[in-house]
């Protein structure tokens, strides 16, 4: 799925056009995104600090409580506190997102670098492979992986990772080719730098710098895709405190307990928006530094 590619295009494209109209100061949106990101990371690393309860503790007599002071996000069908569950689910969801992105980015960097650096036959082959992989658009590749290895968190993570890899590979390759043929690399050759030094000093840093942007944007998208798989019953399963699984459980009660679907979904959207905003912000910073 090349949402990532798209997201990256949006960020890196502006770089190519050399747009310089944006100011350097921190925008309100970026500040907010930073704060949310901080909250999410804290929730992932130290959930007990943010929500001290037990995400699996049931209390049937407190089931289906709407949002209130003791239960900020309400309770679910077993009386579990949704705020606690959503916060404790952050770790799971972020981990899935980060792992999937790592897999996709790792593979993408490998393929993209091979194609971009070696060129010729390797480039041709890798490009054909990518072309074929792109013929499995969207969730298709992920579903194929799940068909083969069966549903589950691990499969879903790998599936999302694999299906994002072609997009990353194409970006990395394009970036590499662009940097390699750029005027400053020629200038370095004219200065008398050895190919190895040019690679180490100019090509790799300039190719890999956007990886941070890609990774940030990618984690947001990966989380959306992974939760989609969980929602479809192909990823994490209840009662695991994972956002997609929680949403999936909540949809049963959508007519009477909207909060069960609303809050996990809100966190997914929040994460994706935050990732996009931060990715763009990092990109802008890198461009203007």
């Amino acid at each position: 799925m090349s949402d990532l590619e798209l997201q990256a295009e949006l960020g890196l494209g502006a770089r190519r056009q050399g747009a310089t109209r944006r100011p350097r100061r921190i925008a309100v949106a970026e500040g907010l995104a930073g704060a949310v990101a901080l909250f999410l990371v804290l929730s992932a690393v130290m959930p007990q600090l943010v929500a001290p309860g037990d995400p699996l503790a049931i209390d049937p007599l407190q089931a289906f409580q709407p949002p209130s002071l003791p239960h900020w996000f309400g309770t679910d069908e077993s009386g579990r506190d949704l705020y606690t569950r959503v916060v404790h689910g952050t770790g799971n969801s972020l981990l899935i997102g980060v792992l999937a992105t790592t897999i996709g980015l790792g593979l993408g960097v490998l393929l993209g670098t091979l194609a971009g650096m070696l060129g010729g036959f390797v480039d041709f082959t890798v490009n054909r492979v990518l072309e074929v992989l792109f013929a499995f658009p969207g969730l298709l590749l992920a579903l194929l992986v799940i068909l083969i290895y069966g549903p589950g968190v691990a499969t879903a993570t790998i599936a999302v990772g694999l299906s994002t890899a072609p997009g990353y590979a194409r970006i990395i390759r394009a970036q590499l080719v662009q940097v390699r043929s750029s005027a400053f690399v020629e200038a370095a050759t004219v200065q008398g730098l050895t190919p190895r030094r040019i690679l180490a000093r100019h090509i790799l840093p300039n190719t890999l710098a956007p990886l941070l942007v890609l990774a940030t944007l990618g984690v947001g998208q990966a989380i959306v895709w992974a939760t989609a798989l969980s929602y479809l019953g192909l990823g994490a399963q209840p009662p695991a405190a994972e956002w997609g699984a929680m949403l999936s459980a909540g949809r049963t009660y959508i007519t009477s307990a909207w909060w069960m679907s609303f809050f996990p979904g809100l966190f997914i959207v929040l994460t994706a928006v935050t990732a996009t905003t931060l990715g763009r912000a990092i990109e802008r910073r890198m461009r203007h530094a």
């Binding site: 699996l56 049937p60 007599l61 089931a63 077993s78 399963q237 049963t252 007519t255």
Partner: protein, 550 residues
């Protein structure tokens, strides 16, 4: 390919003349108390099913509840049941049992034709029974129900005789079920593929069209005149057409009903039932399925549950009452019986299933599971007290899975490590077949207490031809086997009751099962649907008497 065993809520008929357990609640129009106004002829009723779309519409093949739901609309059985539990005539007008109980004669109506024009006669009944007993059909439910039938004979065109290997007091109930409905022999002869797509019956509606993954369209059978004896009228049905849709999302289903897009939904969620009961715009039809109650069976054949003390400890450690109350919001009652509350012979022993974590702890101590590890789980000889609990996501409604999670959470307090593994149906059967489970919940629908024989007779440990085995608790108790066999032959009501009571006591006191609640079967109907009812056999809805007041 063969059907995967008796899938959803399979049912086996039983002979006993159970007093009606079917309770119709809510505001549904009952057949003998028709709703206001004169029935309107015509109109299209849209039904939204939350059950899986059948692979095959012939309920002989396999035999699961979705097939029963659709089959009820266009197929008919030899006999039916009324709300008091009495067997009543349908395609057979009368019947008799020989003194030794080894032969039954059924006199058939002589004025009934299949919708393909072929006559319904003794040969047709023979062909149907042969079809059910043919291993190539891959029947599981119907096959099990006819286990004792050894032969058929057409005494005349309208009289058919069945010969039995041993007396079967459950035969009439068996034959009342949709899975043993009568189909056109000519239709059967077309081969499985064609017959699966559009079986031919004698019912009030005929299959017009089946767009897979979307809807089945039934149209009125205009020459129909063979309703069961308890029907509200005679002649063709009122409705012109039934559109049978499959909407797996329960919320979408309910919303569709609210929006008037569909007229009837099944598998209604507890919260929507509560909502519907509060207002006037939606009628509620509560028709619990007969047979076994929903329960968790504990595998006594291997693992920790070979020890009755551990079984009892597990049962006492599970807080089911609070869970049922909160999850089902009053739409389901806690059961403490092996049988559905629809079964008059059911024995309830609430005391055995009371939540008592202290007692559970002591029981584990005495069973040797006295150590506790760092995570709070009991151990014995360094091994953790783990309960493997595969759950079929296709078979359990969400509320039930939530209940399992709650049981998991409360049993943890006593020290059980319950490992719930959600699985697709095929893997779940695989896990069961290889014995990789300590606890399992498998719904089983059936009329009368004979279900106990299917579920707890040691014969049920060995798989049926389809590969399915029903004795998940792996109860292997010769005394119980004897009681159940005896009860299955006994036609004297009093003796039969005593035998079944004793058998149930043995099962319940042996702590093989943790009863949860009746098999839920809630229909919600739009306010303008009149005259719909659930057949008192296996609680499938019939729309023969139904009409739309709009």
């Amino acid at each position: 390919m063969n059907t995967p065993a008796p899938t959803r809520r399979a049912l086996v008929a039983v002979a006993a003349l159970a007093v009606a357990g079917l309770v119709l609640t809510g505001c549904t129009a009952e057949p003998d108390a028709p709703a206001t106004g004169k029935p309107v002829v015509g109109g299209t009723l849209t039904y939204a099913s939350g059950d899986a779309e059948p692979d095959c519409l012939d309920p002989h093949v396999g035999g699961n509840y979705p097939q029963a739901l659709t089959g009820t609309q266009f197929l008919e059985s030899l006999v039916s049941r009324d709300t008091t539990g009495t067997i009543i005539p349908w395609l057979a007008s009368e019947w008799s049992e020989s003194d030794d109980g080894l032969a039954w004669e059924f006199t058939l109506r002589d004025d009934v034709y299949f919708s393909d024009g072929s006559p319904f006669d003794a040969a047709a009944v023979q062909a149907n029974i042969a079809h059910l007993q043919d291993p190539a059909t891959g029947s599981s439910t119907g096959y099990l129900a006819l286990q004792k039938v050894t032969g058929t004979e057409a005494v005349s065109a309208t009289v058919v005789r069945l010969t039995l290997a041993e007396p079967d007091s459950a035969l009439l109930e068996s034959l009342s079920q949709p899975w043993l409905a009568m189909e056109s022999p000519e239709g059967l002869a077309r081969g499985m593929e064609e017959n699966c797509a559009a079986p031919v019956g004698t019912g009030p509606f005929v299959i017009k069209d089946w767009v897979k993954q979307d809807a089945i369209t039934f149209v009125r059978n205009d020459t129909y005149d063979s309703p069961p004896a308890d029907a509200g009228h005679e002649g063709p049905a009122y409705l012109e057409k039934i559109v049978w849709r499959f909407i797996p999302e329960s919320a979408s289903r309910y919303a569709a009903l609210q929006a008037g897009e569909v007229d009837v939904i099944d598998n209604a969620q507890p919260d929507t039932i509560v909502q519907a009961d509060k207002g006037d715009s939606i009628q509620h039809l509560d028709a619990p399925r007969p047979g076994a109650a929903n329960r968790i069976e504990l595998n006594s054949g291997t693992g920790p549950f070979t020890d009755p003390k551990v079984r009892e400890a597990f049962i006492r450690s599970a807080n089911v009452d609070d869970g049922v109350a909160s999850l089902f919001q009053g739409t389901a009652k806690r059961s403490s019986s092996a049988l559905s509350s629809a079964e008059a012979l059911g024995v309830s022993r609430p005391k055995l299933f009371e939540y008592d974590p202290k007692a559970a702890g002591k029981l584990l101590d005495s069973a040797g599971w006295s150590e506790t590890d760092a995570d709070g789980y009991r151990t014995r000889d360094g091994k953790r007290l783990t309960v493997r609990f595969p759950v079929s996501t296709n078979q359990s409604i969400p509320a039930e899975q939530s209940l399992f999670e709650q049981i998991q959470a409360t049993a943890k307090e006593t020290g059980f490590d319950v490992k719930i593994t959600p699985m697709d149906l095929s893997s779940w059967y695989g896990a069961l077949g290889s014995g990789d489970y300590d606890a399992v919940s498998a719904p089983y629908t059936k009329v009368g207490p004979d279900v106990l024989r299917i579920l707890y007779h040691s014969d049920g440990i060995t798989p049926a031809p389809s590969g399915y085995f029903a004795n998940h608790a792996q109860v292997n108790d010769p005394t119980l086997d004897e009681l159940l066999t005896e009860a299955g032959r006994e036609s004297d009501a009093g003796k039969r009751k005593a035998l079944y009571t004793e058998a149930q006591d043995r099962i319940l006191e042996g702590f093989y099962v943790l009863p949860l609640y009746d098999q839920q079967n809630h229909y919600l109907l739009g306010a303008d649907v009149e005259g719909a009812r659930a057949l008192p056999t296996v609680s499938t809805p019939t729309f023969y008497d139904a009409w739309l007041s709009r």
